[in-house]
Subunit: 339 residues, 2 copies
């Protein structure tokens, strides 16, 4: 397998280099063909990089960035004034072809704005979308998009999201003819708002899609569909609601804290034992689809293992040649529609 | 305490009379001032009613209905052609003042359509909304609305939802100055779509509301707000997503089925023990707010205890004089705005 290069925003995330540097070591050891460009404040990171043997690693290039995008920075500020930030330089490397993909755990809004500006959309894509593979009870993943890149969408955008999601399910997850559904408030045809009903018409008329109809919020995790499409407002609320419920239930059975009693400890043990297939570290990384380049957003609070997973996800998307595959599929869909 | 009368659609729900009849007995025994009008196919229900001592109960009136709204009936069909259904007669009794509230576990769409048509909206209410009190980790409830009565809304509607939700939190839950928030994709002012940002302006300018800003999906269950407002599409997806995650996690730790192993049994036991405050039976019942009468929708799959809870909820809303309180508050809000 030929080499592939991922640019990593070393400064991003709640914890920055203390997480991104060891995560890089993990990823390099897991994937022999992986090369990394680590971008950040090299003066500040020197001892950390040295301690982890990355100062002169044969598969690591270090790139100094004089600026950092903070979590509080507005996207427009980051876009205009933080052109030497670690996040921006990571995107620039992808644009220039010096990296095949980039990963950041930093400010989501800034990353999306910069990525759109630097990398530009693929032909046929009006708006890039954020997608994530969520675990379902049958043991696989359901790809949900958009997760917040677009807070208001039209039906053409939802059709594009459907095509992009289907390509990811096929090429990254290895599902042939992935089942694509629209998220709605009921399963009957008459249900929903104008956007969903109009989108249903477009998806139903698209021969390149295996469109199976509507699903409701309680079916996000049942494995009924491989790809579930919605606007970014709805997708963001659904994903965060799911995270909130899982966290609440985890707390109640003692996964986080509250392990003072024997029963609490036992519950925690059993919970973890049962939930190992649901380890959130294994689901870290949302991909910004529809750009002329691969951009993976890690959760800001990711630990080493979770960030390593986001790097591996970016590498998988490089192997799957995701942007080219999406462009091809969209071209087919659009030419089918024009006929 | 003076008597109060609830009309119950005896035929509604997945199981109908075998659940609604014993639930009525439970509710009557729990609340001495409760009177019930049980509406349905009296021929079919006679032996069941007799077995439960309801044929000649001093606080029960029986009313025959020749029709039933089924789960598959379209709202418009129910509205036009099922005027002697148990659901419709229950609403008619509220309209005529013969009952103070009605409860149904039947077809949600038909109930909402019929309720709006029969009972009409309160002055100041453009659209009634469906609300439910959800458990949060601090032990109280957060009222989420709209849950699907309106799949597309404007900012004026969201302001009305906020006022109605606040009245419920105050009068039913006993919270003074309930904290009201808007559900959004981020907490910063610039986040969200036009609807949410415009609604934030209206809510922020309303002196009758304790508006605290935006909350995200992961904060639905943290107790950060007492009332969370969103359009019915988003609210429906959020609620069903939460139910879906809870069911998935419950299954994984063995609450439903999969108790074949010792560990599974133990996990199930611990889970139930910890979760007793989260018993879904105690959270059954969504209220349709903004009408000239009280309408409570029970979950279709409710068991006896859960349906009994929905009846008790309707009775609480009668005691709280919810429609009059909502009308008063809305009048204040609207006159404040006009000044």
């Amino acid at each position: 397998m030929s080499a592939l290069t991922v640019a990593l925003d070393m400064m991003g995330g709640d914890n920055g280099p203390p997480v991104t540097v060891p995560a890089s070591v993990q990823a390099l050891s897991l994937m022999p063909q992986l090369h990394l460009v680590l971008i950040g404040d090299l003066t500040r990171c020197q001892s950390l990089l040295s301690r982890h043997g990355l100062l002169h690693h044969p598969r690591v290039r270090l790139l100094h960035a004089s600026q950092v995008v903070s979590m509080g920075d507005k996207p427009i500020h980051a876009l205009r004034h933080l052109k030497d930030s670690s996040m921006r330089l990571a995107l620039d490397l992808v644009k220039q072809g010096e990296a095949d993909a980039c990963v950041s755990a930093g400010n989501t809004g800034a990353l999306m704005a910069m990525a759109k500006c630097v990398l530009k959309s693929l032909p046929g894509v009006d708006r890039p979308a954020l997608v994530k593979g969520l675990p379902h009870i049958q043991g696989g993943r359901t790809y949900l998009l958009d997760l917040g890149a677009n807070v208001s969408c039209d039906a053409d955008s939802l059709l594009q999201f459907a095509v992009m999601g289907a390509v990811v399910a096929e090429r990254v997850e290895g599902i042939s003819h992935p089942r694509v559904a629209l998220l709605n408030v009921g399963e009957e045809e008459i249900k929903g708002n104008d956007l969903v009903r109009h989108s249903a018409e477009l998806l139903g008329q698209c021969p390149a899609l295996n469109y199976i109809g509507y699903v409701e919020g309680n079916e996000l995790f049942t494995g009924k569909a491989d790809v579930i499409v919605c606007d970014g407002f709805v997708g963001n609320v659904a994903l965060k609601t799911a995270e909130g419920v899982a966290r609440m239930m985890g707390r109640m059975v003692g996964v986080e804290g509250a392990k003072r009693t024997f029963l609490g400890q036992l519950a925690s043990f059993l919970f973890k034992r049962r939930f190992k297939t649901l380890n959130p570290d294994q689901y870290n990384g949302a991909s910004l689809l529809g750009l002329r380049g691969i951009v993976v957003k890690s959760h800001g609070s990711a630990n080493e293992r979770a960030l390593c997973h986001a790097i591996m996800l970016a590498a998988e998307e490089v192997k799957a040649q995701l942007p080219a595959q999406i462009a091809d599929r969209l071209e087919t869909v659009l030419s089918d529609r024009d006929q």
